[in-house]
Symmetry: C2
Subunit: 404 residues, 2 copies
């Protein structure tokens, strides 16, 4: 008799955003007259930039003509895209990354979920708390997290690094030594960042204890302050200890277009085994490349027009972030983030739990946010709003909250 992967049975509830989606759908079905404003899931709302649309039309035409049709893509991504990434995201920042250290994928969620596959089952993971749920859930599915302790809302074999107002949402080096450290800066969900010097401490620590850092830089395009690193490879020695995950979802609005990439430097080794080779093997066996049309869309993000147009979109969202941040402050909320990230992290009022505040906001003013506790126990008492709505909806939402 076949057996299932029993680790799945240990997972509590469903994926956070599926739960929220179901709650919101139920509310809307029961209240068809209410205009719900969604500032919950980090989904963009601006249409794709004209340069990207043009590139896709061109690529679609190519797929319709025998002279220019493309079949299977190179497993690891087209050279034209990987070169554009290297040039713009790395070389332009003085970072030396090679084209064959870039692995193009269908998005950072897939990569952050799949990257665990090349690691041993007994590795101990450390995560920020609160944290993007995929890191923990995907490790739980692989049996790396021990047992789920419902009362604590924690896994028995995970090192949680609390990020709260008390430490300015910057994790401290753990006392127990981890094997795999997940870091995300600018942070989802708190919107916090750390400086290059602070990140260098993590790189030094990882090199010292022999840990690998999985660095999620999906929000780097939102950095507005100096001295905040855009890539972990700005830190010395990072190529020997860090994998970086990147996304086109937030910097170019690709949430529904699906494109991302992972950097696995060739210097990163376990003994004499290259992790670059392992990930190439994984990618080559279990993935068949991102669609040609979408890779051309990604390339267009790096064109002069694409860069200018996506920069404008980011400015639009960051203006929303300002509206939320300042509006909530005016309304008496304690607010974090929103300066180098599209997320605003607020303390729930009146000692409400995160889910209580979720229900309260949804029912009273028909606004969807994300409960902080959904990201981990240290998120309890916090709440996330995103800047990805339209300006009009963002303004309207803040007015509703002010008058609540």
């Amino acid at each position: 008799m076949f057996q299932i992967n029993e680790n799945y049975l240990k997972l509590p509830g469903s994926y956070l955003f599926s739960t929220i989606g179901k709650k919101v759908n139920a509310f809307m079905a029961a209240n068809p007259d209410k205009k719900v404003i969604r500032l919950g899931i980090g989904d963009v709302t601006l249409p794709l930039a004209p340069a990207i649309i043009d590139a896709m039309h061109k690529a679609v035409d190519e797929m319709g003509s025998s002279d220019t049709f493309r079949g299977y893509a190179p497993d690891l991504g087209y050279e034209f895209l990987r070169s554009a990434i290297v040039k713009n995201d790395y070389n332009a920042r003085g970072v030396d990354i090679a084209v064959d250290e870039i692995f193009v994928s269908d998005g950072a969620k897939s990569d952050s979920g799949n990257i665990g596959e090349i690691f041993g089952k007994n590795n101990k993971i450390a995560v920020c708390d609160p944290v993007y749920p995929v890191y923990v859930d995907s490790n739980a599915m692989e049996g790396r997290t021990g047992e789920y302790i419902a009362a604590q809302e924690k896994w028995s074999n995970v090192i949680y690094m609390p990020c709260t107002a008390e430490n300015n949402f910057a994790p401290e080096l753990p006392t127990e030594t981890p094997d795999m450290i997940y870091l995300c800066f600018p942070n989802n969900p708190t919107g916090a960042t750390i400086t290059k010097d602070e990140l260098q401490k993590w790189v030094d620590y990882a090199l010292k204890v022999g840990a690998v850092i999985i660095y999620d830089a999906a929000y780097e395009a939102y950095i507005s302050e100096e001295n905040v690193p855009h890539t972990i490879y700005e830190c010395e020695g990072a190529k020997a200890c860090a994998i970086e995950l990147r996304s086109f979802s937030k910097n170019a609005g690709f949430t529904g277009t699906r494109l991302g990439f992972t950097v696995v430097p060739k210097e990163l080794k376990c003994g004499d085994v290259s992790l670059n080779a392992l990930w190439a093997r994984r990618h080559g066996t279990k993935f068949n490349g991102a669609p040609y049309i979408i890779q051309r869309a990604g390339e267009a993000v790096y064109s002069e027009a694409g860069k200018a147009q996506t920069k404008e979109q980011i400015a639009y969202y960051m203006n929303n972030a300002k509206v939320i941040r300042e509006g909530l402050k005016d309304a008496g909320f304690t607010v974090f983030g929103g300066v180098n990230a599209p997320y605003i992290w607020l303390k729930t009022p009146d000692k409400m739990t995160s889910w209580e505040f979720f229900d309260y906001l949804l029912e009273k003013v028909n606004i969807v946010g994300t409960p902080g506790s959904g990201f981990g126990p240290s998120g309890e008492g916090y709440f996330r709003l995103t800047a990805f709505g339209s300006y009009e909806n963002t303004l309207a939402a803040i007015e509703r909250i002010k008058n609540m």
Copy 2:
């Protein structure tokens, strides 16, 4: 110190088609004047059908306008595509499959590689020999296949079901009981099919021993004969024991466009755990949907124009299959497949090994095929050619072989 997934180190060589790609690239670099004809990897060559191109242009335009822009897709696929699949691929064949039993993905290679994740590590797999390498390699990565025995070119803990000319390339029920049975019909690489009655025997067997069948029906559109099942769910009881993998790559030329789906019936359970729920959780955690534009392309495959146009493409390729099959027969080869599948499976001449014949064909007549032994030990002495080239190239290739 972090550890890697040691199972990767057990994998022999690289992924088959990567190896072939490297060999061909080396040959072409050394012989820039030779016109190489590729009948190796099963990659299509006809451009996407006009109905599909139109649908993608429309979807691209939608992504460029704020009124119609789409962000994150539903995890499991858009309703419009899942409904079209249910209606055309199942209901039209008298098979009752529900929309929420369909999981849209970025292709059958991903699904066939990832599906193992929801199963226990101690399950014993049975595969046809020869076989599409992804089934075995992905299980090897998960530690389910034991040790690789180089001398035999086999894994110690896999049940191999030889498919050779002696049994008409139809596997026999194994003597040792498997937990997971991978079947692919029409078969890659042999091009063989089995009748509905024969497939029913496998379903009955799986139900009896408590095995799950992973049924790869990627080539069903190529079936030309009656009584060959297009889906395993034509068999009674299959919904309680089988997962079906489907692809748009070969029936609509999506190899570079990337779209597929997996059917996990709600009746399929391990004890009281629904595999549909497990796969939904996996999909929701580690995948973020196929691109909207590509899902609209998939929908167009099922439009009246799309059906007519892709049918023509299949006829074109099947005419190529006929050219290869009959041409090789005329040239004295022993040939199989090519009637219900785009693959022609031939015995290598003069007792050459599969790789010897690969090198011979590449060097003498500059034709790329796939060595049968690359698909498993029982593929030794066989060779695969695909019907996916252009008609002109296919004709030219057969002429070259005839005059070899």
